[in-house]
């Protein structure tokens, strides 16, 4: 039988043949720089974030300021449009650009916090199930099955109708909709790595379970959590818009993009910009978050599969 050992002798001339292998962070940076989707999506998200944070400074008007003498002013690309209201005004004479700018606050806040809260809840549940196995795992699988069986959107609608459409209520209710995907993914990854030597080593060293889960397991599932979070954030933004569109989410006069579409609906045959502008805003924000999420997945993937 062949027995090839790979001792490295001192006068090794192998460096002539070696290729420079970049370190993982370097490789990620390089991949990030050449990933068009990530750059494009990231820029739009960053732009939306800046608009949301600085809306009070950037918006030309108060989004709640009604001026009934200037109702339904056409946007700038219409022959009668003026630069005073580049996106026109709504049925109550409020500046539409300002309302859309403020609307980004609602979308980003709800999307971000719903994704984070459900990430914390879902990953904790998933890692516990994957790590402890046995009865804990059975119980967690049962919880996930129950969650999957419930018609999420309907339950959310009924809960919102009971608890009202405040931003906080929406964040909490939406978080209940999304935890399962984190749980499923973190559970299976944890199951795979639980048997690895470094976990056994940590156990042998007497590390506590919490310490092993946070110190050894969490870093291994973090990439996946971030990827799911970005995708769930996009979904949360769409669902918030849908709830608000149905009149069961954010309540007027707070500007939410879904609500703007809903308010513009009665005028859409004559003033289509009233639904097109906020609709396009949701579309671009969601597509950018998705592109960013896909980008993060590609960039952090161990061996790039596209």
């Amino acid at each position: 039988m062949l027995n090839l050992t790979t001792e490295n002798s001192e006068n090794n001339q192998a460096d002539e043949f070696e290729i420079a292998v970049p370190s993982p962070p370097e490789l990620m940076k390089r991949r990030a720089k050449s990933h068009l989707g990530f750059i494009l999506g990231g820029s739009v998200v960053l732009f939306a974030l800046i608009v949301a944070i600085f809306a009070p400074l950037l918006a030309p008007f108060d989004p709640y300021d009604q001026d009934l003498t200037r109702r339904l002013v056409q946007p700038i690309w219409h022959p009668t449009g003026t630069w005073k209201h580049p996106f026109g005004t709504d049925a109550l004479g409020r500046d539409y650009l300002s309302r859309i700018m403020f609307g980004s606050q609602v979308s980003l806040m709800i999307g971000f916090f719903a994704a984070i809260i459900s990430a914390v809840v879902g990953s904790t549940i998933g890692m516990m199930g994957g790590y402890f196995g046995g009865r804990t795992d059975n119980f967690i699988m049962y919880l996930i099955n129950v969650k999957l069986a419930l018609p999420g959107l309907l339950v959310a609608l009924s809960l919102v109708s009971v608890f009202g459409g405040s931003i906080v209520a929406l964040i909490i209710i939406l978080s209940f909709l999304f935890w399962d995907r984190y749980a499923v993914v973190t559970r299976s990854i944890t199951q795979q790595i639980r048997v690895n030597d470094y976990i056994t080593a940590a156990q042998a060293l007497g590390a506590s379970r919490t310490r092993i889960i946070l110190g050894e397991v969490l870093p291994n599932v973090m990439n996946q959590i971030i990827v799911i979070a970005s995708l769930e954030m996009a979904v949360a933004i769409i669902i918030e818009a849908a709830l608000s569109f149905l009149g069961l989410g954010i309540q007027p006069p707070t500007p939410s993009w879904g609500l703007l579409v809903s308010e513009g609906r009665s005028f859409m045959f004559f003033k289509p910009y009233l639904i097109v502008l906020p609709g396009v805003a949701i579309f671009f924000l969601v597509i950018s978050i998705n592109m960013m999420g896909d980008g993060i997945r590609d960039i952090t993937a161990p061996e790039g599969r596209n």
Binding site: V146, P151, L154, L157, A241, L246, F269, V286, I287, N306
Partner: protein
Amino acid sequence: MARFLLHRFYISILVAITVSVIAFSLLRLSGDLAAELAGEDATEDEIALIAHQYGLDRPLYVQYFDWAKNAVSGDLGRSLFTNEPVAEMIFERLGVTIKLAFYSITLGLILAIPLGVLASIKPNTWIDRMSLGLAVFGQAIPNFFFALLLILLFGVQLRWLPISGNDTFAHFIMPTMTLGIGVMPQFMRLTRTGMLDVLDSDFIRTARAKGLNPMRVLFKHALRNAILPIVSLMAVVLGFLLGGTVIIESIFALNGVGFLAFESIMRQDFPVVQSIVFILSLSYILLTLFSDLINAQLDPRIRLG
């Protein structure tokens, strides 16, 4: 196989019972039912009388078992708003929703599977990028917005299609397009990654080494393996469509279960809402159970393992 099915069945029953408890609690979350039934100006005595009449003064678990017993025999109670039997209200509208869900998933699959297969055999080409682009579009566009755009284009501008109602097939075209585009991305991505994985596997190399026609390699050997997760996803998506058509049904005034649910939520008609939640959960459970059966049929490792 028998053990696997038994286990699945046991879990399903457990989940169904839990879901019924949750659906039942939804009704209780809405506050004091008796007070609501009695109306705004009712006195304490009147509320107590109504509570007694409806059996609302009994302990909660007794009420639950009572409700569950009736539900099993097909009696889901009466609507607070119209006083019609809930079971009848739902049953009447189920056809429209099932039709819409069926059309939508069919459209989604017709778009997704060929595109996913093409994208997987020609990765990183224009066809791959185009189908990924379509998937990203379908994923990112809010369905209520897409529906309104379709109405503007086909209903108002071109006047080709009716914009509300559910009388003819034409009424279903725009709702189907909206939902079909919405469910397409998941199937597309799953087909693509599934096919990429399978095409990379040893047994595909064997099939090629056997000199089989490329079409045979692709459609017999590869797709048959890649289709397994798609069957599971179909059950999930169908379950989602049955419950997730709320928005689309209300935009196009399709008189289905989703529309009924939406109306009932708006007028706080909770016996209807809880029944719909329960029935949709049950159908999801049955659908996934069914898809497991199909998968076991398709995959000998499950069937005989």
